[in-house]
Amino acid sequence: MLREGKIGVFEAISVITFMSATKVLYSSSRALVEASGTSGWLTTIVSGVTALAGFYFIILLMSRFPGQELVSVFETVFGRFAGIIFSLLMSVFFLLNSAMFAREFIEAVKVYAYPLSPPSFLLVIFILAIITVLYFGFECVARTAALFAWPMLAGLAVIVILAVPLYEMSNLYPVLGHGPACIIKTGLLRSSVYGDALALAVVINSLQGSEHFKKSGVTAIILSTAIIATGFLIYNLSFPYYIASESTIPLYALTRSIEYGRFFQRFEAIFLFVWSISGILASAINLYFALSTYSKVFRIDDHRALILPQTVIIFSVSLIPLDISSIAYEHVNHIRQYGSAIYFGIPLLALLVAVIRGIRGEQAGA
């Protein structure tokens, strides 16, 4: 049995928030601005509320099976074979997320910071950092996330404050963007942005009971929604809607535009710090959940044996997209739009099957 150690609520919230909120620092936020115009911040709140509803079903599912983590729940509900399929599907999805974070990061670094460095060189450095974090296990991953949580929040807060002179209220007009129907539809479709809270169910035994699971998940979704909505709000405040959808990395473009006289310019250095730490952590955390799910499916006791093979897979998968356009317009966009099926669809299906067939966990039935 995989020994993952114990973590507290703050660590759990940090882990999920890094997985979810980091997305606002990447290209997918541009796609949301394009889809929703001036109402990106409203749309992502709809996504957050939808994710909270989805997480409620995950809570219901897990409360039927106390003491069991998600992989084991799937096996109990669907049977060993189908359970493995669903669990592996989840594992692959985490892996895909990790690979796309890595590739998006590398492409963005190529565009904004290191144009002459080969992508594979940058990727190797990125992956070495991931391996280092993962080697020491889930506790190390969670504590690293908790350690960087406050500096990251502080970094974002600095950007929010420094960008104040760029804010123009009229950039938020017309306030409903492409209309209420678009806000709701796009918000529902992109609720997967906050679906990462599902990952807590994979490591639920590392939390201090089901109350901590609920508290961590709900708080992380609310916190991530607040961070992402703030990101969109300041971006929408700074750029009119017809320009906002142009930037490859919207928040990077915002920090590049900040200036305070002759001496205080080029604040993107702060963004680079927030961006790289968040990117590495988000990718590492996703990869850990891929490893954890895989290890639990195949009853592997030590996740370290899988780190190297999985990072080789990450390296290869992240180099599959030909260019930044296919990453932004296709791969990442598809992950955001259809990710809800994995994050909320499978647990909801498991809950329905469990309720209909009257399946409960051993401890719950005792």
């Binding site: 290191y114 009229s170 963007g177 209309g179 017809y242 200036e259 002759r262 310019q265």
Partner: protein, 428 residues
């Protein structure tokens, strides 16, 4: 031992993380401080790059080129001009004579010739600029009356030895005088594609010093604003020919007109960008005398929109405050019952400037450079409804009413001037 080796390996990883492929020594780079773009003769574009001088390895002021190939004499700015298809290819072509790699990260000014700004090619140039990482949107955008190449050749540093600082301070005068707009690439590009408003740029020019008439040939202007000139027309002489004064107005993707310094101040007041400026008006009680004021914005302008009628109705209230600088007549405008006389005179002067500018932009330019469309957009709930309204077509027919509110806050070092004395020694 294993832990130490692991730690050492991790520390070694920091070295490539510093970006060895992208490493560039500062003295391997030619830093461009100003970019000039004209219509080309043998190719689409005539590109002029002004490069900053750097100290060489021995500490002496040297040239960015190696082996003396790039040298130019004295303190003249280093300028490369060539015809090329685009800015980017142009930089590569310029590298045939300059050994350093050009870098635009510290460019402060981008200067378009009026000929280029008034042509269809301008749109292509602006759209093609914004994608490149080294083009920083905080650089200022200028349109020069005449050739950009000529402007760059006269873009010298008179005080101090720091061209980037000079360039930056040049455009900072927007906040000091209000006679040029604070037009950087960020704002220009936002307005360039805007459904709310039209873009503006700083108007530049070269002064030939011929406008400073010799005694006996001049004619005193009726206006006292001091800003009724366009760049290059100021009656002055001495040292630098370069001049920034006024605004280049765009309608859609082309330049369509110019505003002088006074109009630019009125524009800044409506846009809420006016910071401060010295004003001189005729003394309301003794028109042969002048009164000078330093004026600041009291609050952001208030804009109210009514779309119920056939044409949009817009009400703009400009709120200013100021200090007395000089009263030639020695009238006691400091007294509470006299202050309103001067305040109303100033309000009326500014209102007439603002109204005349609004009329010019509606009738002549047909271009909302005030950003009034931003307030109109607040009346719409969705982008589709707003874009269907077609604000740019509605603006020329809109009814724009203005009001100016001005209060004198301070009276300088004098609170009650004593009267002037006549030839006979009697107080006037």
């Amino acid at each position: 031992m294993r832990k130490k080796t692991a730690l050492l390996s991790l520390l070694l990883l920091l070295l490539p993380a510093a970006g060895c492929y992208d490493r560039r020594e500062p003295d391997e780079i030619a830093y461009v401080v100003a970019i000039g773009l004209d219509k080309g003769v043998t190719d689409r574009l005539r590109l002029s790059l002004q490069i900053v001088r750097m100290a060489d390895e021995s500490g002496a002021r040297g040239m960015p080129g190696g082996g003396g190939q790039d040298t130019s004499p004295g303190d003249e700015p280093i300028i490369v001009t060539l015809d090329c298809p685009s800015l980017f290819t142009g930089m590569n072509m310029a590298n045939s004579s300059i050994s350093r790699k050009f870098n635009l990260m510290h460019a402060k000014l981008i200067i378009f010739s009026e000929e280029l700004a008034r042509s269809d090619d301008f749109e292509k140039q602006i759209s093609g600029l914004m994608r490149y990482i080294e083009i920083r949107r905080i650089m200022h955008i200028l349109v020069t009356r005449g050739k950009a190449e000529d402007f760059i050749r006269e873009n010298k540093t008179l005080i101090g030895k720091n061209p980037p600082k000079t360039m930056q301070m040049l455009t900072d005068s927007s906040a000091l005088t209000g006679m040029i707009p604070d037009a950087n690439l960020f704002n220009f590009y936002n307005d360039f594609k805007s459904t709310f408003q039209r873009p503006i740029a700083i108007l530049a020019g070269l002064n030939t010093f011929e406008n400073l008439k010799n005694p006996g040939r001049g004619e005193i202007q009726e206006s006292t604003s001091g800003g009724n000139y366009l760049a290059g027309e100021l009656p002055r002489k001495g040292y630098l020919k370069r001049e920034l004064l006024g605004t280049a107005v765009f309608n859609g993707t082309e330049m369509i007109g110019e505003l002088n310094g006074t109009e630019t101040r009125a524009l800044a007041m409506i846009r809420g960008e006016f910071k401060r400026g010295f004003y001189t008006i005729k003394d309301p009680l003794k028109p042969d005398y002048l009164v000078s004021l330093e004026v600041f914005p009291a609050r952001k302008p208030y804009v109210k929109v009514d779309l119920r009628g056939e044409t949009p109705e817009i009400f703009v209230k400009i709120r200013l405050e100021g200090d007395l600088l000089a009263v030639q007549s020695a009238e006691n405008y400091e007294k509470p019952d006299m202050k309103p006389v001067l305040e109303q005179a100033f309000e009326s002067e500014i209102k007439s400037q603002v109204d005349s500018l609004v009329a010019k932009c509606q009738k002549e330019f047909k271009s909302d450079i005030f950003g009034l469309g931003r307030s109109v957009a607040s009346k719409f709930l969705t982008i589709e409804d707003w874009e269907r309204y077609r604000w740019h077509e509605k603006f020329p027919g809109a009814t724009v009413n203005t009001e100016v509110d001005f209060i004198i806050r301070r009276t300088g070092l004098i609170l009650k001037p004593s009267p002037l004395v006549t030839d006979g020694g009697v107080h006037k």
